[in-house]
């Protein structure tokens, strides 16, 4: 039997040697996103001084934060193997409710904030229930809820406007220990993710995205997982709306649509698989910064702002291509 044990040991050694390569291939989309961000930052820094400063970090994070909140929700849904377009509706509705209802007292602001987050959660739970119980495509369900919420937002506030308490907006620009409130929010978001990713719910969401039938056989309830996934997405969309009002100081019934596809793009650029199960929030953060820096570059280069979506599209294509190549080579080394 020792004769059989030796090749087994050699085989194990092979596996370990191949391990590093496999891990690199697995993380290729994320690593490529990091590379692209580094290149963009380098270009940006060559065009403008003071890029590597706290001020710049504060500004860029403030610019990216709304997208980041929306993209966090989208990331969770993508990991589940779904997609959430209703994010746009929740963002629009959230801003108009805030702009019309927030009073001057902290209590009123707190109360209405909770209500907005609650609406986001409710919309998500309804999305999840519809997807599960009627067995409908998430794309179509959330497209419908987006449309409904957009209409509701227009009824509450037909045009951009409304008023937000000055204290609320001061929060958006506040600085503690040299870091803006947006950077602190990002830190909180990452801490949340580190926790969430290690909870049984985090496991179950990724597992369901990876193989729905297996997850069910292992005891994951489809209704629960969909309600939780889309519910969380709704909560993050509501947080995106609240943060957005600290930046714009107004409500807008149409602004939400600007975050639907970018939230998907940020996640995909950061290496989240559209087929579910793979990727993490760190990738999405990188993706959101990439999209933000592209905006900065267009501004610094003084070229037409129409270039921004064009460059974003090209970057998105590169990411998708990279993850597709990585996926294929991973599969080849397997079969």
């Amino acid at each position: 039997m020792t004769a059989a044990a030796e090749p087994e040991a050699a085989r194990q050694a092979d596996l370990r040697a191949g391990d590093l390569r496999l891990r690199l291939v697995d993380r290729a989309p994320f690593l490529i996103a990091c590379g692209m961000l580094a290149v963009l930052v380098a270009v940006y820094a060559s065009l403008r001084s003071g890029v590597f400063s706290l001020d710049e970090l504060n500004l860029d994070t403030a610019a990216a934060m709304t997208l980041l909140f929306a993209a966090t929700g989208q990331t969770i849904v993508l990991l589940r193997g779904g997609i959430d377009l209703s994010i746009g509706g929740v963002v629009s509705l959230g801003t108009v409710i805030a702009a019309t209802q927030f009073g001057d007292s902290p209590l009123s602001v707190l109360l209405w904030s909770v209500i907005i987050v609650g609406i986001g959660a409710l919309v998500g739970v309804v999305n999840g229930a519809l997807v599960t119980m009627l067995r409908l495509q998430p794309f179509l369900v959330t497209l419908a809820t987006w449309s409904i919420l957009s209409g509701a937002a227009l009824m509450i506030l037909p045009t951009d406007g409304g008023q937000l308490p000055s204290g609320w907006m001061a929060f958006g620009g506040a600085i503690w220990l040299g870091l803006s409130s947006s950077v602190w929010l990002l830190v909180a978001l990452i801490v949340f993710w580190m926790w969430f990713n290690r909870t049984p719910l985090g496991f179950a969401i990724r597992a369901t995205g990876s193989n729905e039938r297996s997850a069910f056989l292992s005891g994951v309830s489809p209704l629960f997982i969909n309600a939780a996934t889309y519910g969380l997405s709704g909560v993050f969309a509501a947080l995106a709306a609240l943060y957005l009002t600290t930046q714009t100081g107004a409500g807008s019934p149409t602004i939400g649509k600007d975050y639907i596809l970018p939230s998907v793009a940020a996640a995909v650029i950061g290496g989240i698989s559209l087929f579910g199960g793979r990727g993490g929030l760190l990738g999405t953060v990188i993706g959101a910064y990439i999209l933000t820096i592209i905006g900065n570059l267009v501004f610094v280069l003084r070229i037409s702002s129409y270039w921004q979506p064009i460059v974003s599209g090209v970057i998105l294509l590169i990411s998708v291509l990279a993850s597709s190549i990585a996926e294929k080579s991973a599969r080849r080394s397997l079969t």
Binding site: A4, F203, A215
Partner: protein
């Protein structure tokens, strides 16, 4: 009643199809109880009911004397029932240990999974049952079928069940791992719990089971003490008729014409300089312990992945760049892949679409598909292979395992390739369909096809192949034929001494 599990008159329909009409079973704690029956006999449906994956339409199930109707898999697990599913319930993107403890992870005070506790529990589980297991931190999508099967078993045992159901758990395992699992099953039962064991291999059932219950057409037809019953009686009960011989007569039809010649075939260090001559009219078996280069050999011959060495097909030196090239035309090769559910078939498409997928260009006229011509060819193939379908439009995923495999064969035959690479073609299919597939292989050989045939069941190699090439550590350890073609000789060559080619 002292029976741990009692099943009485359980019924289940799926749409218009009656899966179970009258299932009865009683099994005691402390025994290994085998379920036997052809695919489609209703064993899997009963297991799904016990697992809480589907609900019975009628009848009674009692577990430890109490009514047992799990509403979902969680309820079944809570009641102490663990199932090792044939279709496997593992999540590809989670690691081995995350899969084993999925939904019962050890938690910290802030509701996160305690990774270190999970690792410890995994290692002690592996140690307790002497698992030949892969590393706990390997992602499951990286594992072979056999390794996944082992992880699935670990997952079932991790729940510490009082009823363990093994559905075809040995079909993906190599002989050594199978032996381990049989020992484990006996030990599990000996500790006062109940193991229900499902396998198409009678020898395993004989070795491990105390009693058995036999299913046919959705109903229980017989129950026996293993010691008190002959194989013939079991097979007769399963088939409802006397069993025609499982293995067809082996008439040597090999010519001297070499169909496929490989010289110095090498894949990394998994396959080392293998020489092979597959002749026209020959069934050449490939044997050896699992993971000793058989898969790499088949993949290299089919043009998947990188390999070195020379390949001649019908005397012409050929460089295969990929499956598409390997497939093309009467001079090509056709493969029955290892994992037919994922790689051999499109389960959600019809039998017709599956059959003609690789040859659709043949029916195209003026850019449109000539569906009449397609239909004729499909009907012919369905009849020839005795594929049991309502119509060729039936969805492939709804067929039994044996019939699915026949569709894969049909697809392969329609490519008109005369060199066939069959990788474990009878894995997990029932006795009746196995016999038909062996007969088909010999018929094809008699017509001048050249067949390379890997099986994880040694008896199949011995009874169906003309010669058997045994691989060990990626090298050709022996080529056995005639007198020396016996199970013991294959194992000896696979495990110990190298013999010169006969």
């Amino acid at each position: 009643m002292s029976d741990l599990l009692e099943v009485e008159r359980v019924r289940k329909r799926f749409g218009g199809i009656v899966a179970l009409s009258d299932a009865n079973l009683s099994a005691r704690a402390g025994e290994v109880h085998a379920l036997l029956g052809e695919n489609g006999a209703g064993k899997s449906t009963l297991i799904q009911i016990l697992a809480g994956a589907v609900r019975a339409d009628g009848g009674v199930v009692r577990l430890a004397g109490r009514d047992y109707r799990p509403s979902d898999p969680v309820a079944a697990q809570a009641a102490g029932v663990s199932v090792v599913f044939q279709e496997l319930s593992l999540v590809p993107d989670l690691t081995v240990e995350q899969n084993i403890w999925f939904r019962s992870e050890p938690l910290s005070a802030i509701a996160t999974v305690r990774a270190r506790a999970m690792r410890g529990a995994t290692l002690s589980l592996f140690e307790r049952y002497a698992f030949p297991a892969p590393r706990p931190d390997a992602e499951v999508r990286r594992l072979t079928l056999a390794e996944r099967q082992i992880v699935e078993i670990a997952k079932a045992l991790a729940r510490d069940p009082k009823l363990l159901i093994l559905d075809e758990a040995t079909s993906a395992l190599a002989p050594r791992e199978t032996e381990w699992l049989l020992n484990l099953t006996r030990a599990f039962a000996a500790s006062g719990r109940l193991a229900i064991f499902i396998s198409h291999r009678l020898s395993e059932v004989r070795e491990v089971a105390d009693r058995m219950t036999i299913f046919r057409n959705g109903a229980t037809v017989a129950a026996y003490e293993t010691k008190a019953v002959q194989d013939d009686a079991i097979i007769a009960a399963m088939l409802g008729r006397q069993m025609q011989r499982l293995y067809p007569a082996r008439i040597a039809t090999a010519t001297t014409n070499v169909a496929l010649r490989a010289r110095g075939l090498t894949v990394g260090d998994r396959l080392k300089s293998v020489d092979l001559d597959l002749k026209e009219g020959e069934v050449l078996g490939v044997g050896g312990l699992q993971g000793h280069g058989q898969r790499e050999l088949f993949q290299a011959l089919f043009g998947i992945g990188k390999s070195q060495g020379a390949i001649e097909i019908w005397g012409r030196p050929t460089v295969l760049k990929g499956p598409r090239q390997a497939l093309s035309g009467p001079n090509g090769l056709a493969l029955v892949p290892e994992d037919r559910r994922n790689h051999g078939l499109l389960l959600t498409k019809s039998v017709r679409e599956n059959l003609t997928l690789s040859i659709i260009s043949r029916f195209v006229r003026n850019g449109l598909i000539d569906s009449r011509k397609e239909r004729v060819l499909v009907d012919e193939m369905v009849q020839r292979l005795k594929i049991r379908v309502g119509s060729p439009e039936q969805i492939a995923g709804t067929l039994s395992g044996g019939n699915q495999q026949k569709v894969v064969f049909g697809k392969m035959l329609l490519t008109e390739a005369k060199i066939l690479l069959l990788y474990d073609p009878t894995r997990g299919i029932d006795v009746g369909a196995k016999g038909e597939i062996f007969q088909l292989m010999r018929d094809l050989a008699a017509k001048g096809f050249a067949i390379l045939f890997y099986s994880s069941d040694l008896a199949e190699l011995v009874h169906v192949a003309d010669r058997v090439a045994v691989l060990r550590n990626g090298r050709l350890a022996a080529t056995l034929a005639g007198e020396s073609l016996a199970e013991a000789e294959i194992l000896r060559a696979a495990m110990v001494e190298a013999r010169s080619a006969a």
